[in-house]
Symmetry: C2
Subunit: 302 residues, 2 copies
């Protein structure tokens, strides 16, 4: 299977490396890491064991890759306006496009451009960070929940799950991609938002008392909005406590949006906070804290 | 009238200077500005005209001042634990204590220590900042609303108002000190809180759209809490719009809490945000945005 990795950051580099190691024909579209990886290969520092890929197929333009079977999209969502330019040269008759990006609205944007039947979405529960060029750090988790944007071909979905499983990724298929997306937002909205705003890692927010309560209140607003989106099964409020306890084990982890702010990049406010707020608002759900968080983030990222 | 200024910052220095200029016998308890003012006097740069007081009665300890007729308290509220030590030496039989401090709880704390009958409270609508030692900058407004903590002697109150008027201060008496305190909180909570959190001056928050809406939503929460405190007249919601328009004219003004944060001082979170939250909570008023703001401020000021 010929795979193109578009948006080879902390997520794209990690999953791309695992796929290549398992035998897939992986082609990386690179920018920052191009020179380093071409020269010295790609180094993965992982809690599951470090490894290096000495030979990596590196490109700076999609045209050099040409049509592939699968496009894996790991772009920061604030660059979604480059979908057309970056992905069009990679498309053949049967090309599937899998977005593992954050937040809401990515499958929709891809479907508008390239047709919904070829779009798949994956929700990655992954703690990873970029290191210096040519290196990626896998700090925790890594599982993926995969679903079709339109229910067209369950077997295709299962084949993709198998490819990830073969690469050592805990991957499962879901019939309810929307639910998986909202599940992740329950974590992403408070932690990405607050850590980026305050420039503090997750452990600072877990202090028993007001900070932890604020995280929980934000989670409950997201759960309330999720549960009016027509999910197959609703998200129980206890999921908030489960996520808090899960985060207790993460130590001084910095969510991607915090790192984006530290490194002066734009923030994924639109996909992680504003799109969910929009869905909540349309369904009549008040999300005062999430709304305030989005406003404060916009305010510091002007 | 012998007056002691305790807490001679941007507010204490300014009103103290006006009182001395009008003939009052003013004694300044100083720390940072002691050397500069003793040597070169006190310089006031004011929108109403600059002036200098070449001779100022400066002290480093309250004992050197001794009993006075009026103690004017301008301390930052996070130093309220020093009331006893700083004020006790200034008390005689008829000494009145006037706090012009921010937020809620200051009259109560003074009354607990020194008896409620001698306590007065004033709400100062003043834009002023400290300059280099020996200088204070008056940037706007300056009016004071004065009230007794306990209704004991209206004539005493009127005499104090007259002293401020004689000093050129727009000062009036109120029978409802509580209402005056909450009036000011409608401005103080959003602007002190958000400007300190975001490290942005007030003009950044007045942008039409989400930022201005957030300020207004915070104001409405404060107004709702105020109106269940047994005020003589309730605060109308239109007061929020009046305050927004008033702030439009202030330019790039930095509220005191923003300056406190810039200069590494503690923040007046307890008196400006947490005490009002407590009063709101006890009366069953939900203040999710104010609560979130207080939590975020505590989080950045640890």
């Amino acid at each position: 299977m010929k795979i193109a990795i578009v948006g080879a950051g902390a997520l794209g580099l990690y999953y791309g490396a695992l796929l290549q190691r398992s035998g897939a024909d992986v082609h990386f579209l690179l920018r920052r890491d191009y020179d380093a990886i071409r020269k010295d290969g790609l180094k993965v520092f992982s809690i599951d064991g470090d490894f290096i890929l000495p030979q990596v197929q590196c490109y700076q333009r999609s045209e050099e890759i040409g049509p592939v079977d699968l496009v894996l999209v790991g772009l920061k969502t604030f660059t979604n306006d480059r979908f057309k330019e970056l992905i069009t040269p990679l498309l053949g008759a049967g090309t599937q496009i899998l977005t593992l990006q954050n937040g809401l609205g990515n499958e929709e944007a891809l479907a508008d451009l390239f047709g919904g039947e070829r779009i798949l979405g994956g929700v990655a529960f992954l703690c990873s960070n970029r290191g210096i060029p040519g290196e990626v750090h896998h700090l925790g988790e890594g599982r993926i929940v995969l679903g079709e944007y339109q229910h067209t071909d369950r077997q295709r979905l299962e084949r993709l799950v198998a490819i990830f499983n073969q690469a050592g990724v805990d991957c499962r298929a879901t019939d309810d991609l929307k639910r998986a997306r909202w599940d992740k937002l329950v974590w992403n909205i408070p932690f990405n938002g607050l850590c980026a705003l305050l420039q503090q890692s997750v452990d600072h927010l877990l202090t028993v008392g007001a900070p932890r309560q604020l995280v929980r209140d934000l989670m409950l607003e997201v759960i309330a909005a999720a549960n009016v989106q027509g999910l197959q099964r609703s998200i129980p409020e206890s999921y908030a406590d489960k996520m808090l306890e899960f985060t207790d084990s993460m130590g001084a982890y910095k969510p991607s949006m915090q790192i984006d702010r530290e490194e002066g990049r734009p923030l994924e406010i639109a996909s992680i906070l504003e799109a969910p707020l929009d869905y909540g608002r349309k369904a009549g759900i008040a999300m005062p804290r999430v709304e305030m968080l989005a406003t404060l983030l916009r305010q510091v990222s002007r």
